[in-house]
Subunit: 254 residues, 2 copies
DNA sequence: GGAGAAGATATGTCTGACATAATAATTCTT
DNA sequence: AAGAATTATTATGTCAGACATATCTTCTCC
């Protein structure tokens, strides 16, 4: 979970990277667009060309852009973007936390996590299970405290992925982290919602301890159902609130 | 598929990035290791500090390393590595193409692709299907030509992922690409093997056209079975050959 | 012995310059 | 006049050296 997604990174190249990423993610600079020259970017963001280059190199690594000498730097096609990268996910999350995004992220979680859970039940070591158990205890101990609940929640899901011993499933933890952060941000409107998932986590854990892959898969599936439901309803609540604010502002403007 | 993984990137910073990544991936610089100072790296790789910084910033973006002022740059924990990144996958592939890696990559493909295929059958547009059909025709036209077969093969699988309209599943295409490249590299010992998958692809495509999610899932599952079988047997053949070379070299040394 | 101050050091940033490669413009040839 | 070859242009790639900043270490003082 690291830190809340505020601008807590003092490094200026990182800030530039984030700003440019935002421009791309929100579609201001569309796919195929050639972006301004490095010198222009430098003067626009009021940093040196070196910092710009460092920022761009970050975005290059994430597949957002590509550059060729003389030709310039352009925004790559959408499906070259490395959307499973944690930073990129967080940027997307804070740039456009839409219902569409929530649906997509829950769709993959539904595909991956139940299977990972089944594998975990078969292949995980007792040590792995103990780590997941500790995470569960942390969630339980957090009570109604949303903030304290978030970290062990992530550790729970991550623990299952780690127990599979599959590097690709482990890397999927970044996506899970983004999803959980999204739920966390949304849970302000309904602080009790996360806590409701506790017994579902317990059920998953019991099936794992029993080394029952089918049960584990099913239990995780139910947890996914609940999570998706929470996110969708929170998003529609938020959307409703936003449109109310919008109309209020509209009235005031008249 | 882009290009074969030879050293075709003239950019020196990219070369350094690759070299350092290799050192990390092969475990020469383990997790937690603090790597040499930027100046030392610069003199070791015989490039300027700026290029070193650019290389490191690439690796930072992929989660391999992290730096703090004064403290230095260190190798991050393995599960922070963004293993689903295409470049990182290719580096891993050329650094240590082990049986373990093959197993892992096929395990995720098995989890993701059949489900993606089912979603594709439901949600894909006729236009999406036509693109997949074109890819299939390309595979068919390639005949026994391994090289010509590879590209449309990737397009086939990628087309299914794209048709889901889910950005996360689309991003999974990088992993599929790495897997296919691995099969391609291995198919030298059995050039006919890829061609055998053609009817299985046809079966998948038919189920998709019929908009039959369950059938599509099952057909893709069978294709995954075949692919895994091919890879595993090719790897064991290669391993056998390697050990034979090894012992031959041993005899010669005596 | 512990708290605070001073120094050392590795990363972060800046400046300005030149190298390189791809494009655009120009010249030369047929 | 059309096309091929050559030159000019230009944006990224690389280099060098300097200073800023943050953090770890060491030293000093109470």
């Amino acid at each position: 979970m690291a830190e809340p997604d505020s601008n807590d990174n003092p490094q200026s190249s990182a800030q530039v990277a984030r700003a440019v990423a935002r421009l791309i993610l929100t579609g201001v600079w569309r796919e195929g667009t050639t972006l301004p020259r490095e010198i222009e970017l430098a003067s626009r963001f009021d940093v040196s060309r070196a910092s710009i280059r460092e920022a761009l190199s970050l975005l290059k690594a994430k597949g957002l852009i590509a550059s060729k000498q003389k030709a310039g730097t352009h925004v790559r096609a959408r499906f070259d973007w490395n959307m499973l990268d944690e930073e990129l996910l967080n940027w997307t999350l804070s740039a456009l936390p839409t219902q569409e995004f929530a649906k997509q992220i829950m769709e993959v979680r539904r595909i991956v996590e139940p299977e990972a859970c089944a594998i975990c039940a078969v292949r995980g070591t007792d040590e792995d299970f103990a780590r997941i158990e500790r995470a569960y205890r942390g969630m339980d101990a957090a009570g109604m405290d949303r903030v304290a609940y978030a970290e062990p929640d992530l550790q729970f899901h991550r623990g299952i992925l780690i127990a599979t011993g599959n590097d690709f499933l482990i890397a999927f933890g970044a996506t899970v982290a983004a999803a959980l952060r999204m739920s966390f941000n949304l849970s302000t409107t309904n602080p009790g919602a996360p806590r409701k998932s506790l017994p579902y986590h317990r059920a998953v854990l019991d099936e794992i301890w029993a080394r029952n892959p089918d049960g584990a898969r099913q239990a995780m599936h139910k947890l996914m159902d609940l999570t998706e439901q929470n996110i969708v309803s929170a998003l529609s609540r938020q959307k409703k609130r936003d449109t109310e604010d919008e109309s209020a502002r509209g009235r005031r403007a008249r």
